[in-house]
Structure formats: C-alpha cells, structure tokens
Symmetry: C2
C-alpha cells in the first residue's frame, strides 16, 4: 500500500492509525498526513473481505415506484446512513418464487442484512428466510409463529377505523373497493372490512365489496363504476372505503362522472396516507399505516441483528391511525 511506504511505516500501523486504535499520536499524524497527500481512502472491498462486513443493507419490494415503499426507503436510508451503511435497492419480482430466489442470493454475501416487503408469502419463502445467512426483516405480515423478525401493521384494524368513522358521521350504506385478494394486503383488508361490517356492532344498513384488478387509480375508477351502478335495496351508497389512496382517487373520479359530490353525496376514505392523497382536492381522509415508522423500525431492527447475533425474533406492530380530511366532511346532501 502506497500510504504505508510514503509514511515509512508498516501496513499494520497504517491500518491502526486510520482506524484509530492502539497507535501513538505521532504515528497517527504521520499516517494521516501521508494519506491526505495521496488522497487515499481505504478500499471498501478489501476491508469487507477481511471484516466480513459489507456495510450494506438491501431493501427489496415488488415496485419501487409505489409511494408507500418510497417512504419506507427514505426512512430506512435515514436510519442506516448515519451508521455508515449503504442501502441497495432490489426488486422481489411479483411472484413468490422470484422472492425466494432473491433471499437465496443473499448467500453470495453482498449485504449484511435484508429488509423485504413481499406481496405474497408462502412456506418456501418463510423457510428461505429462516435459512438466510444474514438477518432478514420482513415488513408486512406478522410472522410470529415462524420465528422471523417482522414489522407489521394491522391494516384490518385500520379498515375498522375507517368504517367506524363513516358510521359516526352518519353514513349507512358503505361500499368497499379492494385490490386483488391474492396479495397479502388485499386479503388482510378484506378481512378487516368483513369484520367491521358484519356482526351486531355494525350500525350501517348495507355493506358490499367490489374488487379492482390492481391498486391503481384506473382500476379504482373501473371498480367504482361497477359498484356505484348498483343500488342496494337499502338505498344508494353514501360512502366508499378504498383499500388504498390511489383506488380512492379512482372512486372520487367515478363519483364525479356520475354527478355525485364528494363528500356531500359520497364520503370516501383511502389508506396509506400518501402525499398524493393529502394534496388532492378534496383532500383525502386516509388511514395511515405508518410507512415511514415501519421503515425506521425495520432498519433499527436489522442494525441490531447485524451487531448482536442471536436474540429471539421480534415482531413489531405499528398501529394504524386515521387522518380525517375533506373527503369525509360531515355535511351530507339531502337525497
């Protein structure tokens, strides 16, 4: 190494001087000076090879463009960067199989840990995660019984909050626009809606689900058209719960097409509390699932695991919170 020669000392001393332990101050000065003159910075690869640390953590999701994941990514980056960790973004692909491949690829040791939010889960994936050679934290479903670190949120309960709020402001005939049921979030939200609208606690008159092909505005628009074209015996819908903010915007579009005012004729709620919903007109009442908090918690957890090795797997839950905005204002049209 050039710095050692230049400073006239051994490689060992150079390393100690730069790393800061067990070197005399004279030595430190000398090496620092030489390093500064040469514009030297230690090679990350050599260092990684020796230390068995890459100082990198991967974050993997199906779709990096999704605002929810962007928020997580930002939060994760904010936690990890000050600790000297870099963030590698990866794609899980849309199938369970490709996610399993991703987890297996951790064997090549290019990261010290993984934070992953799989759209779909199965036993093979759980097994792969448990076998993984580096710590893996799952954002999404709680995997308690499986002994896997996870950061989850109770989106089913979140749906309950939305329904309760709508009932409280006097809505009685509530539609639900959900996304695909074969995704983890889709399934959970359906459970939440069904639980909230069945049973004796539900004070409304009617509840009905329509499924969109996708969690997008366009799919929400199409689904809402179908839903709103029907009129239940109890009377026309006066509220729609959407499984995410983009779907909710699609619902509002459909309402406008049909000449319904929001929130006058139709109150609409979203989920995820995204920027896009906050700035929309009308601004969107939405259930926050704490994307940023989940990212932060996952990042902290993975940091813990990278240092301390084996503790019992931890399941962190972030409570959903309802943010009431214009799209569910109290006043109702007389109809």
């Amino acid at each position: 190494m050039q710095v050692a020669e230049r400073a006239g000392v051994s490689l060992a001393s150079t390393s100690r001087a730069l790393h800061g332990t067990g070197a005399s101050s004279k030595m430190v000065d000398r090496v620092r000076a030489a390093a500064a003159e040469l514009g030297y910075s230690p090679d990350a690869i050599g260092r990684s090879l020796r230390m068995k640390r890459t100082f990198q953590v991967a974050f993997a999701v199906a779709d990096i463009g999704n605002p929810v994941y962007v928020e997580m990514l930002t939060a994760i980056h904010e936690v990890l960067a000050p600790h000297g960790y870099r963030v590698v973004v990866m794609s899980t692909g849309h199938t369970v199989g490709s996610t399993v491949d991703l987890v297996r690829s951790l064997g090549s040791g290019f990261v010290d840990g993984l934070i992953v939010s799989p759209l779909r889960t199965d036993d093979a994936l759980v097994e792969a995660i448990r076998q993984a050679p580096v710590p893996v934290v799952v954002i999404g479903r709680s995997l308690e019984q499986q002994g896997i670190d996870s950061v989850s949120t109770d989106s089913a309960a979140g749906l309950g909050h939305a329904v309760a709020h709508l009932v409280e402001i006097g809505r009685r005939r509530i539609g639900f626009v959900n996304g695909p049921l074969d995704t983890t979030p889709g399934a959970a939200r359906q459970r939440g809606f069904d639980a909230a609208t069945s049973g004796p606690d539900f004070a409304g008159d009617h509840a009905e689900t329509e499924r969109a092909d996708d969690f997008t505005v366009a799919a929400g628009l199409a689904a809402a058209r179908r839903l709103l074209s029907r009129t239940p015996a109890a009377g026309p819908f006066d509220a729609v719960v959407a499984a995410n903010d983009l779907l909710a915007i699609g619902v509002i579009r459909a309402a406008r097409e049909l000449g319904l005012s929001v929130p006058g004729d139709l109150a609409v709620t979203g989920m995820d509390d995204t920027e896009i919903g906050r700035v929309f007109q009308p601004s969107l009442t939405s259930v926050s699932l704490g994307s940023a908090e989940r990212g932060t918690a996952a990042a902290r957890l993975v940091l813990d695991r990278v240092d301390d090795v084996a503790e019992p797997a931890q399941q962190i839950a972030i409570g959903p919170r309802l943010f009431v905005r214009e799209s569910t204002a109290k006043e109702m049209s007389a109809r």
Copy 2:
C-alpha cells in the same frame, strides 16, 4: 473452498466450471452438482476483490422522495438489473460540499459507477467528478465544455412550450411561480420564462414572476396567493406557469381560495409530468422532462463506460414534451 473438495477438483477448475470457460463438460457437471448439493453461491466480495468489479452502481440525489427521482431510480434499476448490476441509493445532501464529499468517497471503490443529479453545481464539483476513479454520469445540466458525461434536458425550452401553449389558447397575462433561483433547475426555468416572455415574439400582454421558497405544494400556495393578489395594469392574470407539478397544485389551491375557476378563469401548467399531476382534478397540463428516459439513458451510458474505458465524454439531451390536460382547456370565463 468446500465445493472444490466435495467435487474432488481444484479451486481453479471450480471457478472455471462455474464461470463457464475452458472446462470440460464432465468437469462442469461434477462441479455444478457439488455446488447444488452444498447450496453454494460464489462470494461477491472475494470476486470483487479479484476482478476489480463490484457490480454496483450508485444513484445519488438530494431527496429520494421526490417523484421525479423515483421515476429515474426505477428506470435505472430496470436497465441495470438485467446486466447483473445492483443499485445503491445515496444522498448528495443539499450543499455542493456534501456532493463533493460523496464523489470523493468513490475512491473507496464500493461501486463501479455513479449517476448523480446535483441540485447545485460549482467548479469544485466539476473537478471532483473529473478526477473520480470511476465513471460518473451527471443528470441535469449539460457539462459539455467540461468533458463530463451528462444527460440533460432543456427545461428552459420546456417553459417556452408552456408559455406558447397558453398564448395559443388565448391567454395574455401570464404569471410564473418559480422555485429557488440558486438551484440549477430554478435558474434554468427562470431563464426559459424570461426568454419566452420578452422579445417581440411574445404575443401576451403581461408577464411576471413570483418566487416560492421551495418546490412544494405549500410554497406554491403561498407564492400564488402573493402573485394573484396583485392585478397588473393589463388586467388580472389569466394563466400561471408553475416550475413544477407540486407548485402548480399549490397554485390551483390558491385559485380556488380566491374563487377563480381552473381553467375557466385561470389556466395552470406544471412541469415534470408526475403521476400526482396526472390524477389531480383538474388533471394537470405539464411539461414532461422525460425523467424515466433520462434515467434510462444515464444507466446505459454508465454501463458503456464501465466496459469500454475511454471515449470522449458524451452529452445526451432529452427533449421536453408538453402534455395538454384539463388545467388548460380552451374555454375561458368571460370577465
């Protein structure tokens, strides 16, 4: 290495067999089988150390949450992943100094290339980029004379398109809500607006700029309130050009506060053609600066540079394109 032992061959043969060159088919089968049994995948660090390739590219921006950068990131990832490259996200920080630090940190060799979109640029940064030990591609300003690879867009011309469109639909008194002037985009857009509204080609009656503190909805709202509270001698504003989509949404909010209809009383244009603008009500006429295309081009360029070493620096320009939507529909209110 365990695989070599298991297969009963040398490390060298193992490597050749897995890498695929100069090994007999019998050897390949044997090694593959052993590798499969052991679930072996080659260590990325050891490989990197030897090959002097990390198979990683960094993407650095000030704010990963910005939709424009998210689009770029997605595009970059899509180009790089099939070539076996990983994407590391980094933050430039908000000052030139921290960006320079970032570029210098490339010396530790943790990536094979960098794609960076600096908010602000100065000579020190240009110098640092030129000295960088790995290829650097700049997204943003064209740095032709500096001999630096860059992918740029002519946002000044884009502003011209917006103004021309507004004039064409009969608007005459045009306001401009810009962001901070000390950023590269802010300065370029100001130049564009000034060029488009001065000189004999401008068929409007009045042009005036108001500056927002930031490229956000809130800042746009505040700036638009200030702008619209003034009434030029030529008459009230009938159009506002905003320097990006978020500012434009702020402008629409301000207009609504003041009882102005959009586009009836006031036509509004944005810039960046973001999802948020597309789904807004009214949907936003916006100048696309081709974020995804720029990301794609930058990623391709960095791939070229990683393989072929030295070619003359390249400057790629992506032309801006205007997408006309509801916020600048033709009909005007009679006033």
